[in-house]
Amino acid sequence: MAAPMTNDQSCFFALALGVSFLKCLLINAYHSTDFEVHRNWLALTHSLPVPQWYYEATSEWTLDYPPLFAWFEYGLSHIAWFFDKEMLVVQNLNYASPATILFQRLSVIVADVVFFYAVKECCKCLREDKGKDLLGKPSFILTVLLLWNFGLLIVDHIHFQYNGFLFGVLLLSIARHFQNRHFEGALLFSVLFNLKHIYLYIAPAYGIYLLRCFCFTQSNADGSLQWRSFSVVRLVTLGTIVLSTFAVSFGPFIALGQLPQVLSRLFPFKRGLCHAYWAPNIWALYNIADKAFSILGVKFKLLDINKLPKASMTGGLVQEFQHSVLPSVSPLATLVCTLLSILPALFRIWHRPNGARGFLRCLVICALGSFMFGWHVHEKAILMAILPLSRLLYTVRSVQKNSQQLPIKIFLMLLFTIFSLTSLKTLFRKGGALLNPLEATYLLGLIPLELICEFVYPLTVWQKTFPFLPLMLTSVYCALGVTYAFIRLYISLLTCSDNTKKIKTQ
């Protein structure tokens, strides 16, 4: 069927088409408040003039992405007009007609084409042994792990977001760096940052890498820096690319004098240390430790229960709170911790770059570091670390539980897990066992954890008094795994030699 395609190409097409069909079937699945967020943005970019975009507050879901994303929504809104004009009325809060749902879901599915293209480009960068069985080829495995990534499927096509599209831009940028097309890579990253500013986290990796490996055109024989090879031309070109992207994006708002307002929307520090549902990062462990100490302290009469702050950390509202025993954490403290966590990685690629591969590792560490130590991290941010290296971290959970979606989540997770384990085992056959006993036990431990949280706990008495306990347990358990992965990844980055050895994944 179709034009003559190579085996690989037709396989890629089949995988892409297959996952698109699945996404279409999920059109009527549950969607979260993010659906309303994007509908609101469609409405306000369509109905209101540009100067009002960052001031509009009829809906609680104000525009908090950079201007390029607003322009993206503006473009989409013109197509939305043909589906259902009512969704573009700002006052129609929580409007969700079938046509609206269809349009929004289709927009995510179609935008994923960028992701497909990017994955294809990434596969081109992989070294392949010819004549290998299709199912054992690295490009096939990577394609499946990325295109059928269950975390991305659940967050984008059930919960509702545009992460596939954004990750497509990121992966394309990474691919371009692997292909030594650095100007394009830099341009793509600037565009990405102006679409979603959360990618600020990995900007240091880009900055250091481009400066070290691109602006300094040569290294000495031992890999150290050759100061004389600095190319001003390249630096200036890169700077121009980045600045012009920012000019296109923020320019109109700077001209209107709205920059402070835009920035306050983009960086809302009034929110609490932890999201309502704890991201499994270091602060989850910190909170748990604090809670444990306060309980023990009260029990052993070291602390007076009346003097402890009453605010609940596991409450459903996003709010600021105080820790009882351990020192409270401020946004500045988290920033310092994040920077400290990624500095060693940045130093490493400065001194011993190891090419694009080292850049990729550093990028993942930056993403993970900011996830680990960041302020008000949403658990979805883990995707930023997972996707660049297709790691298998089971920390993605939808924010709201919905039993109808549960079988889908389980099936997709099992699908992804079985595929990852068996294909990665095939790939790394020569390196010994894929997981050491501790890692295997930890991953297996997820099964009883999941069973307890989803099935056993709701039947117990504590469901009513401590409804968030299962989520807290899951966050803490996953935080341990993420921390472990972070440390292992760091070790492998700092100790890896220049020969291209693929690191083992967890």
């Binding site: 069927m1 037709s10 089949a14 088409l17 297959g18 069909f21 699945l22 279409c24 079937l25 999920l26 059109i27 009527n28 699945a29 199912l135 054992g136 039993s403 109808q404 079988p407 889908i408 099936f411 997709l412 099992l414 699908l415 079985i418 595929f419 068996t422 294909s423 095939t426």
Partner: protein
């Protein structure tokens, strides 16, 4: 990649698509006072749980047979009873006598969908996997590919997880029956097939091949010796199974007669809301020892016949997606069109006969053209059924066109399959496998 992981991936893909289709609407959703098949199944749970057995098939004040009266054999009733017990544990309102009529809620829908998934996993899916591994040709990867295509067959998914029925039980049991016969476990095969007959009377369509095959086998073994003994064992299995299933109804002669009256309502019209046609389509899939190419050509076209029904249930999106996915996947994985040489379509003998008068006939090219033509016709009919209004004088134009097109296809398939069956030299291969 190892076999077990490939199989697990296929099963998980099958389960994912099934559950994803289940998000959509069901038959009669939000349409009082009659509703649809979903309400029928719920009502049967209500009736079997609250009423004594001897009242299930009879009309009285507690059991209005005009409102979705039981019209499947006893095994369906027992299945409904088991589901009703579970329903009662979760929420008694779901099976409250009279009060639960037309009950619709999100959690109830979840429960009902879960019962379908449960029986699917228990009965149908293992049968499909065993069938593919024991009876299909090719490498293990090809067998897995075939299993995937069968599991993603849209007709079954749409009817069971969309419209709402338990065809996976009856088809699964029938498939177990076929497996039993193929593997030489005749008694097991008989048991399975008798059970499926007692689940849905439509399986009578399959009973003739079963009967003829078994009778032929007994005759071959010699009706005076081993063959006769075998025949007796088979008959006893069938009779005992029937007796066990119908036991509660055997105390009073009026009971089995009433049940039969409900199962075979000669008073009704020939065409019961086009659902009867779905059985035709499903039949062709499982009736014969066919794999791959034959499967796709028959299976792909059977989706269209259910289109009017699916449109009524609000299942257009799952219909389009699952049909396209199935067609594409089967063409891609099973490279059906490349395998449409005369040899592979087993039309060699046919070709020999027609060579005299039609020497230039290129059968494989004709088959390919026919396939694409019918695909286009299907797509066109689907499009017109959804988006165009029929002329005022012919309001049922599109459903009728769908039926005519499908009838022509099925007529063609009957002729084709019969030719294959009759003209083929005896397949000693499958017998060797079992012995």
């Amino acid at each position: 990649m190892e076999n077990w992981s490939l199989i697990s991936l296929c099963v998980l893909l099958g389960l994912t698509s099934r559950w994803a289709v289940s998000f959509h609407s069901y038959s009669g959703a939000g349409k009082p006072p009659i509703f649809g098949d979903y309400e029928a199944q719920r009502h049967w749970q209500e009736v079997t749980y609250n009423l004594p057995v001897h009242e299930w098939y009879f009309n009285n004040t507690n059991n209005d047979l005009n409102y979705w009266g039981l019209d499947y054999p006893p095994l369906t009733a027992y299945h409904s009873l088991v589901c009703a017990y579970v329903a009662k544990l979760l929420n008694p309102e779901w099976v409250e006598l009279h009060a639960s009529r037309g009950y619709e809620s999100h959690s109830h829908k979840l429960f009902m969908r879960a019962t379908v998934l449960f029986t699917d996993i228990l009965i149908y899916i293992p049968a499909v996997l065993l069938y593919c591994f024991y009876f299909c040709d090719g490498s293990s990867k090809q067998k897995v590919a075939t299993a995937l295509c069968i599991l993603l067959y849209p007709g079954l998914i749409l009817i069971d997880y969309g419209h709402f029925q338990y065809n996976s039980v009856s088809l699964g049991l029938a498939l177990w029956g076929t497996l039993g016969l193929g593997l030489g476990w005749d008694l097991f095969g008989c048991l399975a097939f008798t059970l499926t007959l007692n689940y849905k009377q439509m399986e009578l369509y399959h009973s003739l091949p079963f009967f003829c095959y078994l009778l032929g086998k007994c005759i071959k073994q010699g009706l005076t010796g081993r063959g006769f003994f075998h025949l007796v064992k088979i008959s006893m299995t069938v009779l005992v199974t029937f007796a066990l299933c119908w036991m509660p109804f055997l105390s009073d002669p009026k009971q089995p007669l009433q049940v039969l009256h409900r199962l075979f309502p000669v008073g009704r019209g020939l065409f019961e809301d086009k659902v009867a046609n779905t059985w035709c389509s499903l039949n062709y899939i499982s009736s014969y020892h066919v794999c791959e190419t034959h499967l796709i050509i028959a299976g792909g076209h059977s989706g269209i016949i259910m289109l009017p029904l699916l449109l009524k249930d609000g299942l257009l999106l799952p219909y389009v997606v699952t049909s396209l996915a199935f067609l594409f996947l089967s063409l891609y994985l099973l490279s059906a069109l490349e395998r449409s040489t005369e040899e592979e379509l087993r039309l060699g003998l046919y070709r020999k006969h027609t060579q005299h008068w039609l020497p230039k006939l290129n059968l494989s090219r004709i088959i390919k053209w026919k396939f694409w033509f019918s695909l286009v016709a299907m797509a066109a009919l689907s499009f017109t059924s959804v988006w165009l209004k029929p002329p005022a004088k012919l309001p049922d134009l599109f459903p009728v066109l769908v039926s005519v097109l499908s009838f022509l296809h099925f007529l063609g398939f009957i002729i084709y399959f019969n030719q294959v069956q009759l003209m083929e030299p005896q397949r000693k291969k499958s017998l060797k496998k079992t012995n």
